[in-house]
Subunit: 352 residues, 2 copies
C-alpha cells in the first residue's frame, strides 16, 4: 500500500491471469488458448495493414469490423460493439448497467473477473451457488435482482445451459440487464444471439481469443439491442476513445469472414475434447461434460494440487484454482491431439 | 437514456474526439496526428509479428516493450508501465490516485478528457483558470489539493511550462499524485523524467501516437516510481489483464529503438511549425508560442467558427472548440510543408 493510492486502489483485489512462465517451453494447457494458429488470411491482412496509415487514429466506431461482424451474426451494425477483448467489454458493461446496492447475480463458481469488476465499480454482487453437480440453479435467477451475468458455457466447469433455460431467465428478468458471456460458445453450444431482437435488456459477449485463435490480438464483441450498445458506448467514450487499433481491426474483420477455417479448427478442438474426455474417464477421472475448449477434471484418489504440480514438473501446464468446492479439480485446455496424448501419458505415469 | 443504464451511465458526459469524416479526402489538421509515416522498421516488425503466436495471449507485463522503453528513457523497467494509448493510462491513473471530495487541480483550459475521467470515477475536479495569456498560474497549484494533472505542453494552447516550474509544483505537493501528461513533449520541451527519482508521487504520461507516428496502434507509457506504477497496475488488473496486443508490443518496441528516424521526423515537424507560425503572424494572425505539434491561432477580425467552416469547405480540417475563452481560436495540427502551404493559401484566400 502506498499513501499516494486512492481509496479505490487500496481496496482493489486484482484478477490474476493464468501463469505465462518464461523459464522453459511448456505444453500450455492453462489459459484456454486455441492450439491452432489464426487463419492464414488473418495473418495476411495484418501484413497488408502494416502501412503508412498507422500514423492516423483508427476509426473510433470500428465501422468495417462491425460490418464484417454484422454479416456473420445476422445483426444490424448498431447492435454490435467492438472492444479490446471481451474483458474490456465486460468491464464497460458492469459500469454501464449495474449499480451499488442492487445486487447483481452470478454463480459462485464462474469467471472470477466478475467479482473483480464489482469491486472496481463498487457494485454489489450476489453469488448464487451452483448445485452439487455444478449446474446453474435456474430458479434462483428468477428472483428480484439488479442484473444477471452468466458465462455460457460456464468457466471453469465447461457446463452449458441450453437456450430454453436462458430464455426462461430472460422472461423473468425484464427490468435490468442480463449479460451472457459466450466466450466459449463456438465449441458446441447454441448462442443466445437469436434472442437479441426479443429481449432489449440482453447483452452477449463474444471474443476472438478462443475459437478464432486470436488471444494475442485482443478483440471482442458486445452484442445486443441498440440501447444496450449505446450504454456501452457512453462508458467507452468516457474512458478511451480508441480501444481497437488499425491492425486489430483489419485482422479481426478477416477472421469474421473466413468461416471455413473457423469451422475446421473449432471442429478439431471439439473432436479432441471428446476423445480426451473418453480416455480420462476410462482412466478413472471424473470429467464434467464440457461444451468449451477445456475440461474440468478431478480424480477420486489424487489431489488436484498434486496433479497440477506433477504435471508442471513434466512440462505440462494446466490451471488449478485453490478455491472452495473446486480445489480438487484441474481445468485443462484442449490442445492438439499430440498435446493431449502427452497429457494422458503424463497423468497415466503419475497415477499408476 | 435507457432504463437499463446504471446511474453512472446516465450521468456520464463522454469525450468527443476530433471528427474523422468519410465523405471525402481532407487535409487532416484536426487530431494532432504526425504527417510522417511510422519508421519503416516498425512496419517491418509488424509484418514479422504476424505469425502463429497470435493464438497465444500477449505478455501481460509487456516485458520486452518495457525493456526497450527502459533503454530509451534511462529508467528501470519497474518504473515503466505500458498501456493501450495514454488515454487508457490516464483513466487508470485517475482511478488509482484520486478520490471523491478531495479536489484534483487542473487548468480550466486543457485536455477535456480530464473532466470526463473525474465524472466517470466520481472524482471532484477543481478547474484553475489559466491567466489571460493562457499561462498556467503556477502559484495556484501550490495550494492544498487532492492531486494535480498538467498537460505539458498544454493542449489546445501548445504552451509549455519549463522544468523549474514543474519542480516548484512538486516541491510544494508531496502528499498526493502529480501527473504530467507529456503527450507533446517531444516537439521541443524538456521532459520531467529526470525528476522521477526525486519525487515518488510524480507520474508522467507518454504516447507513441504523436512523435512516433503511431496513432493507429494505441500504445502509451506511464512513467514514475515503483509505488506509482504498482498503483496503476492494480487498476489495470482489475479491468483487463491484457491491454497491449502482441503486434502493438513488437511495433512499439521497434519504435523506441529507432531514434534516428524519431529525431529526423520530429525535427521536421518542429521546423514546419516555426515556419508556419512566422507566416501566420505576418498575415495578421495571433499565434500562441507552441512547443507541440499544433498551433493555437486566432484572427483579430475573422471569427474562429467562420474560419473553421470556410477551411472545411476548402477541404482542410482543423479543430474548433466552442467553449468559453477559446471560442475564437483554431487548433491547427502541423502537417507537411505542403499541407501547411495549402492551409496558408486557403486562409489567405478567406481573409483577403
Amino acid at each position: 500500500m502506498s499513501k499516494y493510492w486512492s481509496e479505490l486502489a487500496k481496496r482493489l483485489e486484482p484478477y490474476v491471469p493464468g501463469e505465462q512462465p518464461k523459464d522453459k517451453k511448456y505444453i500450455k494447457l492453462n489459459t484456454n488458448e486455441n492450439p491452432y494458429p489464426p487463419s492464414p488470411k488473418v495473418l495476411e491482412a495484418i501484413r497488408k495493414a502494416s502501412n503508412d496509415d498507422l500514423r492516423l487514429y483508427p476509426d473510433p466506431d470500428c465501422d468495417l469490423l462491425r460490418e464484417a461482424a454484422s454479416d456473420y451474426y445476422g445483426l444490424k451494425k448498431e447492435q454490435i460493439f467492438a472492444g479490446n477483448g471481451s474483458d474490456e467489454l465486460l468491464a464497460f458493461a458492469f459500469a454501464a448497467f449495474f449499480d451499488n446496492g442492487n445486487p447483481v447475480f452470478f454463480p459462485d463458481i464462474t469467471y472470477t473477473f466478475y467479482e473483480v469488476y464489482c469491486n472496481f465499480f463498487n457494485i454489489t454482487p450476489k453469488l448464487i451457488p451452483l448445485d452439487e453437480n455444478f449446474n446453474v440453479p435456474v430458479d434462483e435467477f428468477l428472483k428480484p435482482n439488479g442484473g444477471i451475468v452468466l458465462a455460457n458455457p460456464n468457466a471453469p466447469t465447461g457446463k452449458y445451459l441450453d437456450l430454453s433455460a436462458i430464455r426462461k431467465i430472460l422472461e423473468h428478468n425484464t427490468e435490468r440487464a442480463v449479460i451472457i458471456d459466450e466466450a466459449y460458445i463456438d465449441f458446441g453450444g447454441e448462442s443466445a444471439i437469436s434472442l437479441i431482437n426479443m429481449y432489449p435488456n440482453l447483452m452477449i459477449m463474444h471474443t476472438l481469443s478462443k475459437s478464432r485463435s486470436l488471444a494475442g490480438l485482443r478483440v471482442g464483441f458486445a452484442l445486443g439491442s441498440e440501447e444496450m450498445i449505446e450504454g456501452i458506448k457512453r462508458v467507452k467514450n468516457s474512458f478511451n476513445s480508441y480501444t481497437v487499433d488499425r491492425i486489430a481491426m483489419a485482422a479481426a474483420s478477416e477472421a469474421m469472414k473466413d468461416r471455413e477455417y473457423f469451422d475446421k479448427t473449432r471442429n478439431m478442438v471439439i473432436q479432441t475434447r471428446e476423445k480426451t474426455t473418453e480416455k480420462l474417464i476410462k482412466m478413472g477421472f471424473n470429467v464434467l461434460p464440457s461444451k468449451a475448449n477445456f475440461i474440468f477434471v478431478s480424480h477420486p484418489v489424487y489431489q488436484g494440487a498434486q496433479l497440477y504440480r506433477e504435471l508442471r514438473n513434466k512440462g505440462i501446464l494446466v490451471r488449478y484454482f485453490n478455491k472452495p468446492r473446486i480445489d480438487n479439480f484441474l481445468r485443462i485446455t484442449i490442445g492438439t491431439d499430440e498435446d493431449m496424448n502427452a497429457l494422458i501419458n503424463a497423468l497415466d505415469n503419475i497415477i499408476n
